[in-house]
């Protein structure tokens, strides 16, 4: 099974201070830690497991700045066979349609059976790249996938719905799937593992290599245009309980008792 996995380097913003750049068009990246998008990590693991079970090869790809190489090396250390980068310059500021166009061009370079992507990225959270890519390729797709079983030229996948419910879909190959967290337990990557793939060649493709013409992607070609970013008011609604932990704990217990939560 030939599998392409699309990955993205994103900042960790859940547990960090996020500030706007002075021009208001982006966030300050200097103090943030970057890594592989959480959903993509599960997608890479799933691709490697499919390869281990059914043979074939896993290629990981990204469209992103030069620093994204670290993310690709991490995927190689996990067990991906090849990695490829698409030169980011012409994609700078591209919306999910532009990114999906680039990835579609890449997917057409080889006879892949499966393209995997994360169900969404933790930074902008569109959840569009995978299904839009499927549209450009004209392949069937399934989003929010939580299990994959290969059945010859078909796969059976579970899609996560709401309220603890899943639906089972049979999907013909080739197909595009977007992976939901929890589908597997991604393997640990050691420093040693990363060292081993340090010298592996990661080709950088130009837009022309993937059939994308000048001006077809990037900020000016976007279907979605940013009008600007702003910071929402923090904790506008909550009454903040202040004081030493012991005092706060007492307040919490009082509230629990008052509201009939017992304790």
């Amino acid at each position: 099974m030939e599998i392409l996995v699309c990955v993205k380097r994103v900042p960790d913003t859940a547990d960090a201070e996020v500030a706007l750049r002075p021009d208001g068009r982006g966030i300050r990246e200097e103090d943030l830690a970057f890594g592989i998008n959480e959903w993509d990590n599960y997608a890479v693991e799933e691709a490697i497991r499919l390869k281990e079970k059914h043979g074939g090869a896993v290629t990981v790809a990204t469209i992103g700045p030069a620093e994204s190489e670290d993310v690709l090396r991490r995927c190689l250390a996990m067990g991906a066979d090849d990695a490829v980068m698409i030169d980011e310059a012409s994609f700078r500021g591209a919306d999910p349609y532009g990114i999906a166009r680039g990835l579609a061009g890449l997917a057409r370079r080889k006879a892949y059976d499966l393209v995997l992507a994360g169900a969404l990225a933790g930074d902008d959270g569109y959840g569009m790249t995978g299904p839009v890519l499927a549209g450009y390729l004209g392949w069937p797709h399934a989003t929010l996938v939580t299990s994959i079983e290969v059945e010859g030229k078909k796969i059976a996948v579970a899609r996560e719905l709401e309220g603890g419910l899943e639906e089972i879909l049979a999907v013909e190959l080739p197909a595009v799937l977007t992976i939901q967290t929890g589908i597997n337990e991604p393997r640990y990557v050691s420093i040693m593992g990363i060292r081993k793939v340090r010298s592996k060649d990661i080709p950088v493709l130009a837009p022309a290599d993937i059939g994308v013409g000048a001006g077809e992607v990037g900020e000016n070609a976007n279907l979605l245009r940013s009008l600007g970013l702003s910071t929402p008011p923090a904790g506008a609604e909550a009454v903040m309980l202040k004081g030493a932990p012991a005092e706060v704990a007492q307040r919490i217990l009082d509230i629990v008792k008052e509201r009939g939560g017992v304790a």
Partner: protein, 322 residues
Amino acid sequence: MAKVFVLVEHRRGSIREATFECVTLARELQTAAGLEPAAVVIGSGVAPFAETLAAYLPETIVVDDPSLEHFRFETYAAVLRDLIERETPLLVIAPHSAFGMELVPRLSAELARPCATDCVAVGMDGGALAATRSVYNGKIDERLAFAPAGGYFATVRAGSYAPADPAGTGAIRAHACPAPPAAWRTEHRGYRETAAGAVDITQAPLLLAIGRGIKDAENIPKAQALADRLGAVLACSRPVVDKKWLGKERQVGTSGRTVKPKVYLALGISGAFQHIAGIKGPGVFIAVNRDPKAPVFRAADFGVVEDMFKIIDALAEKLGAK
């Protein structure tokens, strides 16, 4: 007059609540932009759903065909391509759910009609449609405009609009299901329940919920011990389940359980909408998080900016001393 379509989401015999939140947005756009709202019901044997929607919006379009029994991208997209090309709505809105995420982005690409997903608001900005999205873990808001096109799509985050109440009686109109292609490439095989388990978090008056802030599997017993002393049931956010530290039956949120406790005490949970959407009812919500900017403080009644482990220890001490 230009139209705004609401795609009605239903599953296993009932209309999903998120549909009525989209109805509220459609009504707002009627007032703000003069758009004419219509509901679009697609399925098999869905006449009762059309009746329901007719009590909410001036027009309901029904596409009823046995081939549409279970939602699938392929079959629904075929209907919507046909319907949208004929009726040219300015905007099509749907919930940002497993349904909307599967259906709308790809359809928008195929029709070259721009789509903004996971919107917390959609309105007018200088005479054109604009969307607001919450990005970077809820810490930044982004305003988006659409490149000029024949029409647009938006998927709406759960809880961004209050569910609408019925108002008036609208017209119902049938639209024919287009002829199917020679072969489909996907097939619906059924549903599966994943959140079954021995613990029922939906009935507990007091829930102690832990998130990724718990950091390590080793810390779970500490949280469980505190829950026991409090007389609380231990619940959690999704990453704790993804890591297999707690069972799926303890997960609160859109893809887990909906709970309505008297008190919800959340420790180390950032407040993603998928989590918050699972907390309902008039109970009180207390959030402990060391990040003062955590979006959970926009949803909670009481907030504590502190290391959750200090609060766990302090609560344990108070309860021990009793």
